[in-house]
């Protein structure tokens, strides 16, 4: 018996990264813009998707993948808006992984424009898992406080876009949207910031237009 020292240098997330790369390639080939929505529980991901569905569904075909620990509730809310939705219940796991998306993707119609993925409500773990998305959006709602970016840097570091939600509550809270945005931008320069109230509809058009622009860009690269 002898001892052998082996240099491995393998990324612990290599399997997930490979699965995500395959998904990204497939979605790009199909001309689908995939958006991964990430936030703490209750910051308004599903409500935002409902508001986006109302603005986009007449001109574009949408599909939604919902990630939750338990229940079909979020998928039902999306279906009520006439949008096909797939619920992944992780049964306790705190994040979605690329292979979970891969399994559902076969059932998602090939001819859609937008695929929104609502991650499990959690500002920590989902940040480490690439799902093959084109855009990663972090939501931060006004009741959560404007000090969150520095406390959860990884989520903001990996994001393309910050969506400050529940702006209708700002007058009643010690929440400064400018401070939250500045803190997030100090972690991730170039981050696109949107401020909106999905409930009232303020600011949702701007975000919808941003997604449409991103879809056109994706398709022009492909063409």
């Amino acid at each position: 018996m002898s001892t052998k020292d082996v240099l491995v240098l393998r990324d612990l997330l290599a399997t997930n990264k490979q699965a995500a790369a395959a998904i990204r390639k497939e979605l790009r080939a199909r001309g689908i813009l995939a958006v991964n929505l990430l936030s703490s529980p209750g910051s308004g991901k599903t409500t935002l998707l409902e508001a986006l569905a109302e603005r986009l569904r007449d001109r574009y075909r949408l599909a939604v993948i919902e990630g939750d620990i338990e229940t079909e509730r979020d998928a039902e809310r999306i279906r009520a808006k006439g949008i096909p939705a797939w619920q992944i219940t992780t049964g306790g796991a705190c994040h979605l992984e690329a292979r979970m998306i891969g399994k559902v993707l076969g059932e998602v119609p090939a001819a859609i424009d937008f695929l929104f993925i609502e991650n499990v409500g959690n500002l920590v773990c989902p940040a480490g898992y690439d799902l093959g998305e084109e855009l990663r959006c972090v939501l931060l709602s006004s009741p959560e406080g404007d000090d969150k970016p520095a406390k959860y840097p990884q989520a903001f570091l990996t994001a393309d876009c910050l969506i400050l939600t529940k702006s209708d509550l700002v007058p009643y809270l010690p929440f400064d949207p400018a401070k939250a945005a500045a803190e997030a931008l100090s972690i991730k320069p170039g981050l696109r910031v949107f401020t909106l109230s999905a409930l009232r509809g303020d600011g949702v058009d701007e975000l919808a237009a941003f997604f449409v622009e991103a879809l056109e860009r994706l398709r022009s690269v492909r063409a």
Partner: protein
């Protein structure tokens, strides 16, 4: 708290490497974990100890090297360790910094116990 799922992935790598080298067991696993990797080393250790039972790494020791955050300033080119956690350049105060270390999550090396190489011609004859 996704350390257990990370450890499950780690064991795929361990078992694969052990097979490649025809190892009898794994005695040491060394990981590099960046401060910004979103992983708690203590939880990773507990998950490892739970998972390893009955596997080829059943008696393996886990060593974790924590990698601090290292920044490089895109404006002035200055590089430094991020000790304050405020993602700003110490030299020019700018915010246009790039994270060059501190996000990694890597299996760096492992130590295996392998059979002695087969005795070639002229080696001790077996009966």
């Amino acid at each position: 708290m996704h350390e257990l799922s990370l450890v499950a992935g780690l064991f795929d790598t361990l078992e694969e490497t052990a097979r490649e080298h025809r190892a009898r067991k794994i005695t040491l696993v060394r990981l590099k974990v960046g401060k910004l990797a979103g992983v708690v080393p203590g939880l990773l250790e507990s998950a490892f100890d739970t998972y390893k039972k009955g596997t080829i790494a059943g008696e393996a020791r886990l060593e974790i090297e924590e990698v601090p955050v290292r920044l490089r300033c895109r404006d002035c080119g200055g590089g430094r360790l991020d000790e304050t956690g405020d993602f700003a350049c110490l030299a020019c105060g700018g915010r246009n910094v790039e994270i060059i270390e501190g996000r990694e999550l890597i299996v760096e090396r492992i130590e295996l116990e392998v059979e002695e190489p087969e005795p070639g011609p002229g080696g001790p004859a077996s009966t």
